[in-house]
Symmetry: C7
């Protein structure tokens, strides 16, 4: 008995969309969701790093380890 | 020998209802429960983020990683 | 070779009884044990939240993630 | 190739004896070992809670989650 | 149902390229990605260690445990 | 392809010898290694507890949970 | 699809060589790599313990639990 909308499916529907990824230690990353796996490891393109509300630069591509993720929010409702 | 009411079933009965999700670091999220999986990863719609009792904005949709959850409380008894 | 009284069986014998659930960060929850699973995820009804010895309100129903639990104590000996 | 005395067997030999259970955050519990499982979840009867060397009361029965345990010491050599 | 670009494949495409590896505790390592496994354990050659923005020296070869990784960023888009 | 000397075998060769067990939070235990399992749970006899370099007493027997161990050092080379 | 050089193979090629093992809490160990397993548990001989850049003595043999390791660096390129 699983929930109506599976969390991984929300990620599948958000591919190539902008997402906000909040990780531990008050850090966040904003960019295009390019991929993910079942551990919630994420691939983000054009990822802007924001630490305590200050931009720290942009990365062409970034693999974020799922274990540090707090939440992922696509910028538009699905 | 499992408990009378299984925790995941409480989530199943709370789909499309408002829930309060308390996570680590004194953060909480309030919104409609749209889905979940066996890791307690959650999909929340219209999620309001509250940090130390102050609202920090609303997200159309949010995937919260189960590993950061402290508790989930549906707003109404089931 | 398992111990005489299995921990999950203590929970099974405590269903519909009041329990004290101590979690990390000096928080505790008191209410009726309504269910559990093998991860020690718990379902508590009429759960009063107590943080550093102050009551913070009551929740009709609450799913506590097992991973944050320190101990569970039924209010009466079994 | 396992060690001569298996840790779980020490617990098996300590059933119905007084044990000291040291957990994280400088807390300890003293009482009769009534059961355990392979995760080191423990059932303790007449458990006295001691926090930073001060007694905080006694619980008729307590299930301690194995994941918070530092060590378990039976009060008598086996 | 897995994401379009799998995180491990991004690492596979980055072999022999310079990568930035951010780990916990505000540390980072910059060097050539020489290998990895499914736990995100990494092999980095000519790894420069940077702690709180100060260089701490260079290591000919380094195995970083996946469990401490926050993100990995190849220096060029793929 | 495993390493020449397996870590568990070092423990097997150290049975009935004095070992130093360093655990998290600057604590250590010194005593006779009486057993272990594959999780690095340890059985130590005549265990002296040392916290921040001060002796805190001796325990006839102690089961230390592997998850809190930093390292184990037999007092003599093998 | 695994990375060109597997992390465990780097350890295999470093047997009997001097390695630097950085663990959490700003501690490190330097000595001969004598063995390892798939959890990155390590056997180090003649291990010098260095805490915040100060030597704290040498151990004839030491088993370091993989879970506390940040990185392992053989002293020479392979």
């Amino acid at each position: 008995m699983e929930g109506k909308v599976r969390p991984l499916n929300v990620l599948g529907s958000s591919l190539n969309q902008y997402v906000l990824v909040k990780v531990k230690w008050n850090r966040e990353y904003r960019g295009l969701l390019d991929g993910y796996d079942q551990h919630l490891n994420l691939v983000i393109k054009n990822a802007e790093e924001v630490v305590e509300n200050k931009s720290r630069g942009t990365f062409p591509i970034m693999v974020i380890r799922g274990d540090v993720v707090v939440y992922i929010s696509p910028s538009e409702a699905i």
